[in-house]
Homo-oligomer: 256 residues x 2
């Protein structure tokens, strides 16, 4: 009856005890599934095993697996599809493309977008960048500059920092060849799934360089968006500072 893969729940749980390592069964299952995702056992876009299959594997009831998957689906790590199965979330599908892009045209008409890479080189992490990415100062990083345009109007200027170790083969040439969302590229080429991100937003005045690249007046107000993006297990893998022109676009957000 006792499954060696799971914490024995019949342990010191009789009142008065308080085993710090205790967590509900479904949380343990959730952690196990998360490990599978992290190890790449199931790739983005693929389906994971059915609930009954997982229940058999982990020696728990279908209901317990279901609750674990419910939470992972609520966090957008998995996507349930009735009649088909449960799939690993991806940035590669039309439906969820630009999942993390909150800039929206004021008139809601989606515009054609294009990305222009300005620069891509290797560097050593400064104190700030190392802290954000969980590295040590001086560790190798990749720095990336680009402009995103909508209907050929430059709108977003991005300055991106990535851990050099994780993104070994990332070169200017590879980026120039590639079309499509950057996070989709990270998924397929480097096995890195962006799962969550935190942003800090400010209004700033355009510098000379920013103004000329975005074709606005020096000193114009820009929306500065500093993002740290995380993969499975809350490991930071990207620091991105964006500057948005918000003349005909706005950043949309929902509060609950």
């Amino acid at each position: 009856m006792s499954d060696s893969r799971l914490i024995d729940r019949k342990q010191p749980l009789g009142r008065a005890s308080h085993s710090a390592a205790f967590s509900p069964l479904y949380q343990q299952i959730k952690a196990l599934i998360l490990q599978g995702l992290d190890r790449g056992e199931w790739k983005p876009g693929e389906s994971i095993p059915s609930e009954l299959e997982l229940a058999a594997r982990f020696q728990v009831s279908q209901g317990t697996v279901r609750k674990a998957i419910d939470e992972l689906a609520a966090e957008n790590l998995l996507i349930r599809r009735q009649g088909k199965g449960t799939y690993v979330a991806t940035h590669n599908e039309a439906r969820v493309r630009y999942r993390f892009l909150r800039l929206t045209p004021d008139d809601a008409r989606p515009q054609p977008s294009s990305s222009q890479i300005l620069d891509c080189h290797r560097a050593k992490a400064t104190v700030e960048i190392a802290a954000a990415l969980g590295l040590r100062t001086g560790d190798a990083v990749v720095n990336l500059h680009r402009v995103l345009s909508f209907s050929d109007i430059p709108t977003i200027l991005d300055d991106i920092w990535l851990p050099g170790n994780t993104f070994k083969g990332l070169t200017l040439e590879a980026l120039l060849r590639y079309r499509g969302p950057m996070y989709a590229l990270f998924e397929t080429e480097f096995g890195i799934s962006m799962v969550r991100a935190d942003e800090k937003i400010r209004a700033v005045a355009a510098s000379d360089a920013q103004a000329s690249l975005l074709r606005v007046a020096v000193g114009s107000p820009l929306l500065q968006v500093e993002r740290i993006a995380y993969t499975y297990g809350d490991r930071p893998v990207e620091l991105r500072r964006g500057h948005y022109v918000t003349e005909r676009y706005h950043y949309r957000n929902s509060l609950n």
Copy 2:
């Protein structure tokens, strides 16, 4: 066996039918609880009946009630407290005060805040304001101006529009007497619970008036936050345009 309060689910659900009015039982229960909240059957901060009690009232199993409450809790309309009960969310408690305020000090040290009401008068809704609040042009509205300061540094300038009908007794005097979050006042004095909000964010240049009130230079970049706040049933009840000084503060957001 058939409970007149609920849709008879034994109806034309045999394959080939597709009753448009169909929805899962737990969704019907959710809607019923939502109605209770909307009617004020249980007030913010109070507890709703226990799961077993609701199950008996609606003639369904506890599990079905539970799933309905789960969703309402996920939407922050209800708050579960193990061992105590399930409570109606409120803006009146320390834990969730300023639930909708995303502006955070850069150094994360919370600062003492104070609100200064500059103006409060009745007006007629313009086309834009009527559209945002679901009113007709010319309907009565209340317009409200205030400055929020942190550590006595003016940081947020708010311009607020409310439906005149709903907020009948809202006067400058009442506001001056009151201390605490505005949404808490709306709850206790007008029975309006803010449940959700959408925001549109831009960077703009400070006008003369804004600059002098916020003590910044004319033309300085400000974060403009336009908010529509909703009560139960997605009914809009507030339009708010805020201008934030983001020198030492930032708007924080999480993407999932």
